[in-house]
């Protein structure tokens, strides 16, 4: 089975309110993207990795990975205007493969074991999800409906999909002008196949808001120094 990977580093931080792309922010003294590159560096079953990043940061990102000795198999390409478009461009830049792993640089606390378990799982399409520990209601300005949180899942990355159906689903979604915030939704909505939910971890935090980095520092310190 051939495995490719798309690593999203394409968002110029919209919510962080600062111009520096988030993959360059330091966590425990290392850029976020380096944490991810280290987690995948020992996984030889992944043949080819495409990093999508803003066009103006392709060179910096490639140089950073090279400088850390983590550029093996990795190619940087320009991302798109939306996350969905970046995935599509990343998929197009990969050589055809059986399976593709999708991850994002802003989830630096992912472990090598997370990738390995995802790859090893028998399901062709799968992602990590965790429960939603708070109440979510439907509404805009006023309550318009109640959602049963037992039926909800907080979608994490990494994710894994059969390559050809995902490429097809993306093409169809783009043609139909549909937009999705991540690929499990897109894959499901386009009827591309069943997607299994694996048990994710609270630690696999996404760095979105400034406070997430503070939380991530604490989680990272605990993880690194944990035990005893």
């Amino acid at each position: 089975m051939s495995i490719g990977m798309v690593l999203l580093a394409g968002g110029v931080g919209k919510r962080m309110g600062k111009p520096a792309p988030k993959q360059f922010l330091l966590l425990g003294g290392k850029p976020l993207i380096i944490h991810v590159a280290e987690a995948i560096s020992g996984i030889d079953s992944i043949g080819e990795i495409v990093v999508t990043c803003p066009a103006e940061h392709i060179d910096d990102t490639a140089a950073l990975l090279r400088n850390h000795g983590l550029d093996r198999r990795i190619r940087c390409v320009a991302g798109g205007a939306s996350r969905q478009e970046s995935v599509q461009l990343g998929l197009a830049a990969l050589s055809a493969c059986d399976t593709v792993i999708i991850h994002e640089a802003v989830r630096p606390l992912v472990s090598s074991a997370d990738f390995q378990a995802l790859i090893a799982d028998a399901a062709p399409n799968a992602f990590y999800g965790i429960q939603i520990p708070f109440t979510v209601l439907r509404g805009r300005g006023k309550v318009e409906g109640i959602l049963d949180r037992d039926e909800l899942v907080n979608v994490q990355l990494p994710q894994k999909f059969a390559y050809a159906p995902l490429v097809k689903a993306h093409a169809e979604a783009a043609a139909a002008g549909e937009s999705y915030t991540e690929d499990a939704s897109l894959f499901y909505a386009r009827g591309a196949g069943e997607v299994k939910i694996l048990k994710g971890s609270e630690r696999n935090l996404k760095i979105t808001h400034p406070s997430d980095l503070i939380t991530a520092e604490a989680l990272y310190a605990d993880w690194r120094g944990g035990g005893g």
């Binding site: 962080m16 600062k18 520096a20 922010l25 330091l26 425990g28 003294g29 290392k30 850029p31 380096i34 950073l64 400088n67 850390h68 400034p210 980095l213």
Partner: protein, 234 residues
């Protein structure tokens, strides 16, 4: 008594706030502001506004160590004395170890350590025999581990060390050496170190300037040679 006060890094941030605050001290007769950005220095001058102190701004790159003896000599010639030296200029380029280039190390140490030491050495030539004060700005990063800030944090450790050593070495000459270590403070440098932080939630430069001014008053003579931490407990 009137005193001549030299401030490096006065074009913005903590150095600017210190310049504004020092201008309000009744015994400051001359303020000499040094940094690279001449416009920033002029803006500091404008912000100082009406003052009885004579204000001179000197735009120069302090990492050019060879120029420092002439700089200090010129200041002494033009103003007749050097009584207070505030070494506030600082540089930071946070990077992981592998991304810390030689140029980053050189610039960081040139601005934060070498130029400071050269400024002190040259100023002391003219300060000896007078009750002068030297104040160096280090950082809380000097004494706690800061992954990702290796050049900056280690350079600030050198600032604490050189300050404490010189406080002892110069004891008896009438010159007191102070070192203050601010915690996070809302300036451009801090934005480089913590780009994701909201500057409105942290200590402001004027708060550090207030502490600096109090240390430099004639009556204060007990806090030299100690690493004084200045931070806002929130």
């Amino acid at each position: 008594m009137s005193r001549v006060c030299v401030i490096t890094g006065a074009s913005q941030g903590i150095g600017r706030a210190a310049a504004i605050r020092m201008a309000a001290e009744p015994d400051i007769s001359h303020l000499i502001l040094v940094a690279r950005n001449g416009e920033g220095l002029e803006e500091t001058k404008r912000m100082i506004g009406a003052t009885k102190a004579k204000v001179e701004s000197i735009a120069m790159d302090l990492s050019d160590l060879d120029a420092i003896p002439e700089l200090v000599k010129g200041i002494h010639e033009r103003h007749g004395s050097i009584d207070l030296l505030l070494n506030i200029a600082g540089y930071a380029e946070p990077k992981s170890l592998l991304d810390t280039t030689d140029e980053n190390i050189r610039t960081t140490y040139a601005v934060n350590v070498f130029s400071m030491l050269a400024m002190i050495r040259e100023a002391v030539r003219y300060m000896r025999g007078r009750p002068g004060k030297i104040l160096n700005v280090a950082s809380t990063a000097a004494t706690t581990s800061r992954p990702g800030w290796i050049a900056y944090a280690s350079s600030k450790a050198a600032v604490v060390s050189l300050s404490q050593t010189l406080a002892d070495e110069l004891a008896g000459t009438g010159i007191k050496v102070y070192v203050v270590s601010p915690g996070r403070c809302a300036t451009e440098l801090r934005q480089k170190l913590a780009p994701e932080e909201d500057p409105n939630t942290i200590m402001q430069p004027s708060q550090v300037a207030e502490v600096i001014a109090s240390l430099l008053r004639g009556g204060e003579n007990t806090l030299d040679g100690q690493n004084i931490i200045v931070r806002q407990q929130s």
